[in-house]
Symmetry: C2
Subunit: 477 residues, 2 copies
Amino acid sequence: MAKDKKFVESITDMEVDFPQWYTDVVIKAELVDYSSVKGCMIIRPYGYAIWELFQKQMDDMFKATGHENVYMPVFIPESLLQKEKDHVEGFAPEVAWVTHGGDQELTERLCVRPTSETLFCDHYKNIIHSYRDLPKLYNQWCNVVRWEKTTRPFLRTTEFLWQEGHTAHATQEESEAETIRMLNVYADFCENILSIPVIKGQKTEKERFAGAKATYTIESLMHDGKALQSGTSHNFGDGFARAFGIQYTDKNNELQYVHQTSWGATTRLIGAIIMVHGDNRGLVLPPKIAPIQVIIVPIAMQKGGVLEKANELKDRLSDFRVKVDDSDKTPGWKFSEYEMKGVPIRLEVGPKDIENNQVVLVRRDTGDKKLVSMDNLEDEVASLLDEIQHNLFVKATERLNAKTSVATDMTEFQDALDDNPGFVKAMWCGDQACEDEIKELTGATSRCIPFEEEHISDTCVCCGKKAKHMVYWAKAY
Amino acid sequence: MAKDKKFVESITDMEVDFPQWYTDVVIKAELVDYSSVKGCMIIRPYGYAIWELFQKQMDDMFKATGHENVYMPVFIPESLLQKEKDHVEGFAPEVAWVTHGGDQELTERLCVRPTSETLFCDHYKNIIHSYRDLPKLYNQWCNVVRWEKTTRPFLRTTEFLWQEGHTAHATQEESEAETIRMLNVYADFCENILSIPVIKGQKTEKERFAGAKATYTIESLMHDGKALQSGTSHNFGDGFARAFGIQYTDKNNELQYVHQTSWGATTRLIGAIIMVHGDNRGLVLPPKIAPIQVIIVPIAMQKGGVLEKANELKDRLSDFRVKVDDSDKTPGWKFSEYEMKGVPIRLEVGPKDIENNQVVLVRRDTGDKKLVSMDNLEDEVASLLDEIQHNLFVKATERLNAKTSVATDMTEFQDALDDNPGFVKAMWCGDQACEDEIKELTGATSRCIPFEEEHISDTCVCCGKKAKHMVYWAKAY
């Protein structure tokens, strides 16, 4: 058992060193490996299986809302990137530039896409002519590159995987409705698939996406009290359309500019799953995103009938993602290993269990053990998975609430961050100067102006002038 | 009707100008659009939906054979690419080089992956230690870049999408078995999903993949008699393992090098679907890869009950990919449009049909019309889709056979290519000089030494010396 314990003990406690705990978990749970390519990660089979479940379920939600997938080039010519002024200013400092093809120098540099607004605009200009061509509801799943100085697996990497939705509409009202609709899809996905509660709101002008008229965000809260921007949705109005000349003929035969949106979610959310649900024994996965939902560990495997029964149970549970570990490791080692990997349910079955027509089910989220009859195993597993999925959301919601403070002046603000790191709800006058000062003083940034603002006080937490909005503030990843 | 005809007439006849026919089809069927990025294509929703069906079905076959998906970085540092000598010689001339990140020049150039052997080797070196870690059966779906001078949508593009399998095994026998197994998976996929018959065989040394000990291929034949390499599988032996130092401890506690394979199939196969099954009315899609399997066109749509019935039939056919076109275009226009898009079955339903409790089913592959009772519509559609899937394979096989000639000397060889462009089966002495000369004289290259060689003659078709192998020759894409 000493060896079994070591597997788990070799990870740092999250209370001791949260960043080190995070790194230990991503490596020990075999989600990623470091690569020879600075800032880029290798997503290993277990990590990629999570991403596949993520993609499949989010993609289904996109298709259910009428979106179609496309694929755009990985390169953007420099001249194309420069067409929308704010956009290029935002992205040029962090792109990778291709200057040579084979041994020939290119006449024009190409950047590796950091995001694809410019490519979609270029395409929309070609294919949108009439009001009949609208709306265009496109999405793409792809890799993007942003030159980052400090990187951490999933949270901030030079290359990451994501989806980027890009839509074009006849009117500003329609593009605004789409922007909000997709933010709600993200919130729904986080809450119902990932069991992660989120705050929905609008970014301040300072935190807006380069080129957007309005940026909406969902913000989640990690175990260490830091916020993570978990998905954003942007309304561009007709800004890009004017820069790229994307016009259509309306029903009165008049030329109009289209109104556009974009919205994205990334592999970063795998980091959120780790930091919201994980504990000192490793990863804890919500069942809907778990590559293995039930791990069957045969006990006294060498005894006649045990392995056969384990495989028989696996076959009976074929509605779920189930695996039997019949390797020659000790049961104790296997327990630690699948706890580290966050498998929601461990099913133990040994000779005595078989004799008694029962199995042991162990929950990863609470550690609770339960003896259940083999007769209604399918139902027991189904309801336990539902319960775990729900319980993780409830626990995370309670933590988010417990880690959310209120401040009416900067002393309260700082005390809140020191005593109970997390969100601080406080009023704001609307001036960027106050945002800058709060960041300077506390390290916290404005996360969003929530859709449901509360009245905390009449005056700005920073300058004391008349308040315009309630803002969620936090230190953030 | 003049307008309806125009839709189809605007594509060039394949007998008049095959390359132009191909281009017309990919554009008119809305598979791709050209982009501002030289040599890169935009894959539009209809083309990407084909790719998604392709990915899903091929990925299922990979998983059924025990493979796991991973994701490697998009960049390869120059020093890593150079580790295996033959490999870098093969690829360096055609890679895109990243030299700057933001405004900083990189200390080492990064190439955008043209293929990922070097990255997998680097990772395998980290994670393979013991015989217990073997085999590793990994695959990745991603984009790759090869700097091409002349490009055509799907067939040859600077960036393309593909899957690349990379596996590591304890012995040469196991890596050889894997190489053949995956070639068979490709052949199975082409024949049963895409309805494309293939010739399976081994590449000659000249045509081998850079760094491989053996390359196997499946070769298909296009409508114009040109061959298309449709999937390749490589056995690397321990060549890469020695270059990268990938060793494991065997059961006797001795250090051994691993033996590796790689295998890939690309968006190029969409080009094959077009050029094998297409006709002068556009695309013809095998049902298993068709984004829309049944298009329902309501006739006299304004009449009461027609649209309701069309939607009711759609709901009844929910086991299939079905769409109702209720747009205000004329039925004739819709007929042409979905013929262009290669939809396998058109279902027409109008007031008279409803009166008679029947619908009209029209096959895209033969144009045959059939009146069927509404009562057993589900069965009729299911069996008709099967029949179309099968018929396309039979037709393509007949064409492949008809376009395959035999030659015992170079006069016969040239005559075969002139009179009946396609495969030429001819004997070969094994010398590269003869391969070079045949290419020089006729433009044909050795496609493969088939697994099932026939005896055509005793002597090499080119030099007349003793023959070693039978080879399939052809002009190729």
